[in-house]
Symmetry: C2
Subunit: 223 residues, 2 copies
Amino acid sequence: MWQLYQFPLCPFSRKVRLLLGEKGVGYEPVRESPWLRRDEFLDLNPTGQVPVMVDDERGVTLIDSQVICEFFEETVNKAPMLNGTATDRAEIRRLAIWFDTNFYAEITAPLLHERMLKRIVYKQSPDGQALRNAMKAAVNHLDYIDYLLDHRTWLAGPTMSLADLAAAAQISIADYLGGIDWKSHEQAKGWYIRMKSRPSFRPLLSERMEGIPPPADYEKLDL
Amino acid sequence: MWQLYQFPLCPFSRKVRLLLGEKGVGYEPVRESPWLRRDEFLDLNPTGQVPVMVDDERGVTLIDSQVICEFFEETVNKAPMLNGTATDRAEIRRLAIWFDTNFYAEITAPLLHERMLKRIVYKQSPDGQALRNAMKAAVNHLDYIDYLLDHRTWLAGPTMSLADLAAAAQISIADYLGGIDWKSHEQAKGWYIRMKSRPSFRPLLSERMEGIPPPADYEKLDL
């Protein structure tokens, strides 16, 4: 049985969990708080980051969410998430990296810092300006999603792909932390409702981070 | 014919060029200075980063060095750089991402900022403390390379892989900018001499960034 080291508000672990859910791969979640820099976890992964997946029976350790997604894409045929030609796959990977990198740096990371780490690690109040900057950046990313959906059913093309999982994972954490305003983003909202309706997504939405409640409509399908 | 947007000291473009060289894929380099934020280039890639590859005839644009490497790995059989089982490939990707992310953030990026951008963009002198921090971090990474080579011929296993290309690309830029001291890193040095000897590597070593000369032994095989 695979073990998945993660914590409830890690967007990269969520991307992996969505992929495992779509592919029907079972795993046991193991709670890891990377900010504690636990020695045993650093021995497992020198970067100290989650997600990490471990299969003790086969002696396999997978580090980094991109590495994990490529591994299961290569080894499990069900629900391919890198579909199509090499060019199609390049577009899927480009968008997944875009959300993993740019959306995370501009929105998810500052929200996690202000609303989670400051509360549970630094015992400080969030910085209002940093929160406003993140919410402003989120509007630009929702505009970009609207633009992609003008031409496509899913973010990278005609089928759901790793790009949708990466984007939905980041957005779901930003939404949990109150950083998303769907106003005048009807297309992005419609796409996100489709994502939220997936059986792979429902269990993630019911999880809570202790002491940090989500907004009232966080789990709702009717935004 | 592929066009590759890059500048001589971009480590990610170097990784791509090493892979294209090993695979025998021809391309025309196009000089792009991402810090100028040229409108036409931002239209091509909204992140504003190099490398980008364009094939006008086929209407294909490839963005991001990881995306580009996966694309040519999938479409060109010669000189496979993601060799072996899914687990072997996971280890190759893990290490390539390690050098792309951690080595870059701790060493290459600060060296480029202090020794290149401050000279050609900001017209400032480099900060000695930042340079010393980068050189100290480089020692830790060379230790890690020594450790990997205790058990392996190449960084990720028995054959040269994308991990070696990613590491050598970062190290070659750090070396150009005076950030690498090979003292007491015999194994890493031996591996780097092997990398430098590759026909794919030689053309990169002869390129210069205007106004920024490399150290005297930068091109030498006898370090």
